[in-house]
Structure formats: structure tokens, C-alpha cells
């Protein structure tokens, strides 16, 4: 069952990577005047939407978080409502953190916000899909021995990698190369997407590699 679970995870991850690739490659073919660098704001929205859509799809098909409770419709609606609220809150939180890290306050506020949305869709939306709007579960997952399933582990890895990718993406900004991708927040969002994609690809392998220790923990 361990192997099958990991296989399911890998499939889900490949789908998620495809979503990012899709947002990178397809729109330039469909629309004129679209480029990731030129119309970055549009791309940010588009990529976020793709990633969230795939996450929802995975939630519905793979069911990473089998809940024992029989959930009624009102329960579901309540959950959906709370998830939306959480997502919005996380966007605002990310925005605040990014500004505190030195992003411009007034100018390019739209870019900053949609970058926050992108980060949220990489991190929070996956949390919401896998763990549900349960804040305590989130806090549990992000501690040393908190992960209880392969999904939790993949969540740990992807979230950390996305954030670190965004962090590393900030480094080229002050360089004086005058490249178009050095403009805020292009390098950061690209870094985050790159970190996200890489971690999605590597997480199954890592989990497979360490499956001995991990099963021990879950028992």
C-alpha cells in the first residue's frame, strides 16, 4: 500500500508540474502580446488559477485526506467558505511579509499582491486541499515529526522549496545587468515556480528513498 500511495502521489505531482508548464507555454501560443516577462501580471494570475485548479482536481480524484466523518452538504459549504477565507488571509499575510522584506510599498502594489497570490496557490492551496481548513493540522505538519502520510511529507517539501525559491529569486534584483527578468517580482515568482516544480518532481523520489524511516513514523 505504501508503494501505491507513493505512485498516486507521483501522479498528482506530475499533474501539478504540468499545470505550471501549461501556464508557461500555452498562453503565448493562444494569445498575441502575451509573454511571461512582458505581461507578467497576467501570467501570475493565470499560473495561480492553473495551479489551484489542478489542486482541486487532485483533491476530488485522489482524495489525499480521507476523512472518516460523513460530511453533510452544509458541512461542505462551511468548509469551502472557510477555505476561501483562509486563502484570502494567506494572500494578505504573504503580501505583508513581502512588503516587510523590502518590496515597494505603493508602486507596483498589484504585482506584489499577485505574487503573494501565486505563493499562496503554491503553498496554502495545497495545504487546504490536503489538510483542509484546519489550522492546527497545518501547524502540526510543519514541525519535525509532524508528518503522518506521504502527502504530508510532500506538502512539507513543496512548501519549503517554493518559499526558498522565492527567497533565492530576490538575489538577482540588485544586480546591474539590466535584464528584463530582474524587474520586481519576475525573478522571485520565477524562482518560486521553479522551486515548486523541482520539489514536486523530487518529492516522490525522496519519499521513496526514505520510505523505511517514514513508515516507522506513521505506524
Amino acid at each position: 500500500m505504501d508503494e501505491t500511495e507513493i505512485r498516486r502521489l507521483a501522479v498528482g505531482h506530475v499533474l501539478s508540474v504540468l499545470a505550471v508548464l501549461f501556464s508557461l507555454c500555452v498562453p503565448p501560443l493562444l494569445f498575441d502580446h502575451f509573454s511571461v516577462l512582458g505581461t507578467h501580471l497576467t501570467w501570475l494570475c493565470f499560473c495561480s488559477v492553473c495551479v489551484i485548479a489542478v489542486n482541486l482536481l487532485l483533491l476530488l480524484t485522489l482524495k489525499p485526506n480521507p476523512s472518516t466523518k460523513r460530511s453533510s452538504l452544509s458541512n461542505k459549504v462551511n468548509k469551502l467558505y472557510r477555505s476561501c477565507l483562509y486563502f484570502l488571509a494567506s494572500c494578505l499575510l504573504f503580501h505583508g511579509i513581502i512588503v516587510l522584506y523590502g518590496a515597494p510599498l505603493v508602486e507596483s502594489v498589484g504585482e506584489t499582491f499577485f505574487f503573494a497570490v501565486l505563493l499562496s496557490s503554491f503553498t496554502t492551496s495545497r495545504c487546504l486541499c490536503i489538510l483542509g481548513p484546519n489550522f492546527h493540522a497545518w501547524v502540526r505538519v510543519f514541525s519535525k515529526d509532524g508528518a503522518m502520510s506521504v502527502w504530508d511529507h510532500s506538502l512539507q517539501i513543496t512548501t519549503i522549496c517554493s518559499v526558498v525559491g522565492a527567497w533565492l529569486g530576490a538575489f538577482p534584483i540588485p544586480l546591474d545587468w539590466d535584464r528584463p527578468w530582474q524587474v520586481w517580482p519576475i525573478s522571485c515568482s520565477l524562482g518560486a515556480s521553479f522551486g515548486y516544480a523541482i520539489s514536486l518532481l523530487l518529492a516522490p523520489f525522496w519519499i521513496y528513498w526514505n520510505r523505511k524511516q517514514l513508515t516507522y513514523k506513521r505506524r
Binding site: 511579509i97 523590502g102 492546527h136 502540526r140 503522518m148 538575489f171 540588485p174 544586480l175
Partner: protein, 1037 residues
Amino acid sequence: MKRAPVLLFLAWLSILFYSGIWLFMSGFLLMRIELNNQSLCSQPPDPGLLSSTQQKTTSCWFPHRFNKAVIVIIDALKYDFAKYDPANTNPKPYENKLEVIHQLIQSQPRHARLYPFRADPPTTTMQRIKGVTTGSLPTFVDVGSNFASYAIQEDNLIHQMVQNGKRVVFMGDDTWDGLFPKKFYKSYFFSSFNVKDLHMVDDGILQHLYPTVDGGDWDVVIAHFLGVDHCGHKHGPDHPETAKKLTQMNQMISSLIEHLDDNTLLVVAGDHGMTDTGDHGGDSEKEVTAALFLYSKAPLFSKQLLEDPEAVPQVNLVPSLALLLGIPIPYSNLGALISDLFWWSEDGDDISALLTKTSAYQINTQQVARYLSSYSQAAGDLSADKLRLLHDLSSSSMAEYKQLMSEWDQNALSEAEMEERLTQLVQKMQVYLSQARHVCMESWARFHPLRMIFGSLILFMSCVVSYIVAEAGLSMKVSYRSLLGYPVFISLLLTVVLGLGTWMSFVDMDLVSLCALVTIISQLSFLYIFRLRKYAQKRWWSRPTSLLVSGSCIVLFFRCCTLFSDSFVVAEGKAAQFFLASLLLVTVAKLHWDGRLTLPTFTPLGSESLKPSLTPGYKKDGSRLLLLLAALGLCIRLSSFFHNCREETPECHPSAFLTPLSSVQDPELKNFSYICCVLCLGVIIYLIRKWLQHYGNLNSSSPLVLYVRWGFPLIALGISCFWALSSGTEDTFARLRELTHLALVAFPRAIYVFAGMGILLTLWKPMTVYMKQNQDSSADNTVTTFGGVPGSQAELQHVIPQIYRKMQRTLKNRLQHSREGEEGKKGAALEAYGLGSVYSAAMVIILSLLTLVLIMLHSERMTPAFLLLLLEALVILQIHGHVSNLYWAPDDSDLFCVPWYAVIAWALAATQSFYYTGHQPVFPAIHWNSAFVGFQDGHTNNIIPALLVAANTFCSNILFSAGSCLLLLWPFLCESPTGRRKRGKRETREGESEDEDMPLMEMRLRENPDCFSVALLQLGTKYLFIQGVQVLSQLII
């Protein structure tokens, strides 16, 4: 182990660092002392010369050739731009554009000449203007006498012109305004600020140039065009815009010539060249080769000379212009005459023309000789041997000249013989002049790679030493004395031996290499002894507190890497802010990751029963830490409003807060900001007092406490009065003005003295502990170390077990033993307030005094930045305190070891607040105004202003270094009064059932003096290590 060895050890380490830096700097920073001497018309370098040439009253030193001059400086006019090649049929945009120069040379070879004009690096406009007016070789650092302005203090052409009654009219680049303030008879300045604007300056000059020249109300016109340079920066030379700009210059020159008369010299010069990308500043061939074009309507040159004239060093223009215009050569000039120009005479024959030339050269030689002798008296950086050789050369040529003249007067020589000997003499003097320039260039403008290598080597070794000591820390408790003693002893011995050797001239060593040798030997002997003793039995590098295994080394690594890139150095303030936030965020995240924030009841490793739905419990610290992080972010973000700008980033606008209040026009805004600043000052004082009160350090009546209570508000009052006065308007009554002036001097000085007294007082009697004696009720009145306000004492009294009272008493006895006598050694029960924060209270008092003085040195409106700085430091300390208390048990020896992340964060905060108190590590950003706080009328010596400016510039570094002790102390302060258990003491309890425990806070340090000393040493070495690594990586680039 006592304090003294620790302090000595730290001092030894800092000496190592300083000598490394000094060695490096002596190889890298090119320094030159500026002399203030001025050439005077009545004092020619050689008084003997006067008699023959002083017939004309209108000129000095030498009969003038021209009455007037028009000097046109075209910024970045490269020689390639100016030369004209008729054979070139397919010219690039910058080629063959200055046609008029070519035509003039062809049609009037005796009137016009084009030279390559060699600039000395650094080829920036300002340094070139300095070079081409003073005749000296500007280096990166000219140690001037005046701290307050950029004005050229050395003797220069403009000064000499003005001094000798020439009316100088200037138009163009406003850099000249800063360099020569109030020197010009008339001036039209245009801002050179906007590099992207190609036409504003040039059009402005062209508007005024011809009317001025036609008006006749001038003797010298200087026009500095910037268009070509800006065009190069914006488009590069190979661009049609450059062609347009050069064509415009061509038109300008040709129509300017039509406006000149016979008695005017026209000089067209470029201040430097440009690279293929249009930049300049370095020493590449393309940057240093500018163009010089000389023209006059009267014949200027002797005969048709060689096709390609040789390159003229830029400084050579200075003596040539001076003698042609009949003014004294500037005192510090090192240039030689342009020999083609000095070929004229009233008789018109060759021999008298040669005599003119010889006497001009003679004046030039004597002037340079005079300068070299005064310079070598003022500074010792020119080699004595070479100076002696030069001196011999100049005096022999002088003697020869005199002899020749007397023989010529007696008609003892034939014309041909005379001509030959004069030519030889001129050649000799030319050799002298070029050699003199060479010697100076060698010592001022050349790096010493060996010194730089040794400097970085010493720095590296110092880093290694401090790292070893910092990491080995507690495990090498034995004695630092022997570890320190031998290296110091050996190096001292070596110094004495070598010093004696040098003195008795057995060995030949200069100071620098002596210092390097001694430093290296002492480091090596330290390392050797360290290895020999094997202090580190256990592998200290694998301990959890080690740098290598902690994540913070990544941040340090990144930080050092960013110093390698120029653009990161420009953005260093932002980078430091970014790293600081990341480091603390990661620290807190790791705390959570390690499960330190959750209550022990929650175990994630639990069984099946533990469902995700189970809510884990949290310690209060979690939310508190998040709040602190948010506060830190906010502080950092807000403080970035107080930044300053470098010249390189034109899109950056310096903070409006940097301008002093007195230059704010709007009275309402002025009042408002004044009130804000005073409020900030008040808040700072209030916070400090509140803090001291919270820890109970404000209860006693010792002089220090009284000082804090009454002195601090007094200082604040003084500062606000000073601000009010200095920002006031000028137009008050005359009597009041005098009073104001007096007050402006008196207030800051009083504050200096008062704050100094406070610091001395703190050092003398640092105790702020209040002890209440209760003789009669010793049985139930208790002792507590908890320094709360007296009100909170009551509720704590009943829980205090007997044992701690005893322990406290012994502690107290020990305390009294070492410190000044206090009453109460009778064994009576005591109440002591503020005992828990004795050390930090003293530290805080010293720091706040320093802060207050530093605030006064800054512009008034920077006060909020200081408030933010203090808050930031407080937040970092709080985070550090919480984190340490969460990680370590109270009696663990690790508590005495300040973790690396905290020290790195502290150093980053120091860097970050350096930038965000309005500083930049470039010379134009230094706040020279601070040198005049309290010394309105200037200074008699250089020491006080240098101190004040240094204090202003390094304010954040001073504060953070002084405050670094707090990193060690703070975790003890943060100990929460409840919930802490001490295993060690519990065994000795006498049956009390209280689980509650009074926090010992800083008394713990008193309990383990050894640990304390070692911890201090470790902290110091860590801080030094981090600073050292940063300096090292900065030097390596």
C-alpha cells in the same frame, strides 16, 4: 579567571585585526597630504630671479604673454574625437567631427596645435578638475584640512587668477561651484545631476558664452560643456547622438574663434576620455587620453613642429597657463611647462627666445623644488633617497643657470655656445620635472600588492584565531593567560629586538613590515601553543552551538558573497535588512520545527489515538515571538525611510529627513517636525526609564540613579533647546543673535560634558541596586532577587522559600565584597531591587547616554531613526532571549554561550542601521555638519572634528558594538518569573513544597564568574570574527 585577561585578549585580537586592515590600507588607499601654502606674487620660488624679470608690474614671476584666456572644457573629449583624418572616407559617428580644429592647424600652424592630453587616474570629472587647476595628482583620499566642504583648499589656478585681479567668469557644470565657492566674478551654473539630459547644460552655456565674450567684462572665461560626456553615458560613443553633439561643439568652437581678439588664448580641453561603452573613472588607455587644443590669433608657436606632437600630461597645463597669463604658479603644482609655448621674445631672435624659455623653466623647477621640500617636511611618504637626488639636480641646475646668466651678461660666451648650453640646461630641467612627477606618482598612485596580500593574510589569520577561541570557548577554561601571554611576550620581544636593530642600523626595516612581521609571529605562536596544549579535548566543532552546523552560517556565507558584487555593495543596506529578517524568521521557524513552541503534552510521535484533529497546545512564547517578528519587520521597513543615496544611483532620492530643520521653508512643517523630533526624544528617554523602572533599578538614591532620574530629562531638554536655536531663523535682533550664538556653542558642549560625566559615573559606581534594610522583621520579610516594582513585591513574598534567602545573602556578601561598600552586612534580611539586572542596567545607561550624544550629532529629523534603531535592537534582544530560554535549561552551561545566529543578527542590524541612519560608505555622503556641533566657529585642530565626524558616521556600529554585551545578558533578563525549575538546587531544599522558583536572572552570572568571563570572551570573539569575515571578504574583491 579574571576580567583583565579577557579584556586583554579581546584587545589583542582587535589589535591583530587593526594591524591587518592598516597594512592592507597602506597598500591600497592612496593618500596624500594637502598643503595649504599659497604662492604669492611677491614671493617667487627663487628670489634671485626677480631682478631680471620684474620690470613689468602687471605680471608676477614672469612677463605675461596673454591678457585674457577662454578655457573651454568639453567633458570626456577623447583625443579620437578631436583628431581629424582626411583619408578616412567612412568615419564612425565620433570621428572627423571637429573639423574646425583640423582647418586651423592646417591654415595657421603657428597659431593652433592639438595635443593628446593625458589624464592621471582616477578619471572622474571632479578629480580631473582638481588636477587641472591645482597641478597636483589627486588620489583617492586627499587629506584636507577642512572637513566641511568639497572646496579645493590647495593653491590652484582659479585662486591665483582671482588673487591677481583677474575677473573669472564661469559657465557650465555646477561641480565647479562646490570646488571653488564664491571665487567667480560671474557664474552661470547648470546642474550636472541628470546624466540622461544631453542638452540642458550645453544650451545654457551657449546662451551666455558669446554675449559674455563680446561684453569684455572678463579676463578669463571658463566654459564646461557636459553634453558629450552625458551622451557617452547614455548612448556610448558609437551613436549618432554623439555625432550630433560633436558637430555642435565644432560649431561652437568655430564661432567662438570669431569672437576672440589678438590678446586672448583659447584652450579647448577634455577632462578625460571614455571607454567604448561611454564610461570613465579607471586608468585604461581610452579613458586617460583626452584632447587639448590651443589657439590664439597671435602666433603662439615657434616654427612648424613635428607632425604628431607628443602627449601632454594634464598637470602641465597648470604652470603653462599660469606663466602665460602672468600669475604665480600654484604652490602644489607638479606639472612641467609645455615647451612649445615658451618661445617668444621682444627682440624676436632665437637666442632671446631660448632665454625666455630657460627662465620659464627655471621658475617652474624652483617652484616644484620648493613644493617638494615643504611636502617632505609635512609628510614622510616620499622616499628620502630620491628626494635627495632630486634636490641635487635642482640646485645644480640653479647654479648652472646663474653662472650662465652672469657669463652671458659679461659677454663671455658666443651665441652658439650659449644656445647649446641653454638647450642642455632646459633638457636637464625637463628631466628634473618629469622625475619629480614620477617620484610623487610612485608613492601616491601605486598599489602595493605585497602589503595588500599580507594585510589580507593577517586578517584571515585573525579570523581563524577568533573563530577557534569562539568555538573552543568553554572547553578551554584552563587559562587564557598562558595562551595570551606567550604570543604577546614573543611579539614584544621581537619588536624590541628589531626596533633596537633598526635603531642601531643592523637591519633595515620600515614600520609597516615590522608591524606585519610582529603580528604574524604573534598569531603563529598562538596557534602553535594552542595546538601544543590540546585544549580542545572534545571535538568542539561538532557541538550544537558551533557555527558550521548551525543554519546561520548559510546566511553569513550569503552575506559575505554579496559583498563580492559591486551592485550588492550599492544595495548593501537593503541586503542586510533582507538577511536580518530572513535569519530571525528562520530561527523562529526552526524553533517551531523542533517542537519547542508546543507544550510538552502534545507529542506528535503519538499513537493512533492522536488524530490530526487533536489540538496541540502552545506556549505563550509562540504568539509573542510572532508579534516580535512583526515588530522587527515593521521597524526595519520604517527605518528605510531614513536612507541616503550614493551618486551612482541617480534614480534614488535621499530621504527628506536628512536635511536639517533650519533649511525647511514652510514654518508649519518646521514646527510640526520639531515637535515630532522632540516627542521621539521624549519617547526614547521614557522607554529607557520605564525599562529601568521595570527591573527595579530606579529605586535607590545612589548618584547614578539620581543622574538617570534627573540628568536624562535634562539632557533631552538641552538637546531640544539646541535644536530650537539652531533651526531658528536668522533675522532676529542683533543682541539676541549674539546670545543665540553663545547658546549654540554652550548647549552641545554642556551636553558633551554632562554625558561624559554620566559615563564616568557609570564606570565608577555601576550599582543601581536598591537595598532596603529591615532589621526588625527579618523573620518574615524576605529577600528577592526579582526586580519588580515595589508594588508587585507583596504578592511574591509568601512564596519565597527560606533557602533562597540564605543563598541570596551569601550572594550579597560576595557582591559587597567586590563592589563598593554598602550597608547591611549585618546579616539582616534585605530587600534588593534591581539585583537581577545589575549588569544590563549599567550597560543600558551607558548606551542611552551614547545614543543621546549621537542623536545630537545628527540632523534633528533623524531622531525617529534612532528611536527605530533602539526598538530594533530591543526586539532582536527579546527574540534572542525567548529563543534561548526555549532551547536551554536554565542551569545549562550553554546558556552562557551566545549562539551564532544572535551575533550574526546583531552584526547585520549594525550594518542595516548604518545605512538607515542616513549614511553611505562614500565620501560625499559623510555628514560634515556634525563637526560643527558645539564648535560653530570652526576648529583650531583636526582631532575634535575628526572625532565628531567619525562618531556621526559610525554611530550605529558604535552603539551595536557597545551593546553586544547585552546579547549575553538578555536571556537571563527574559527568564520568566514562574515555571522554571532548577534541578541543582532542589536537592538541598529543606522541605518546602513550593515548586515556584525565583528567577535568579543575572545573579546567575555572578554565581559563575568563570563562565561569565569565558562567555564574554566568546561573545567578543564571535562578534570580532563576524566583522572580520565581512571585512576580509570586502577586501578580497
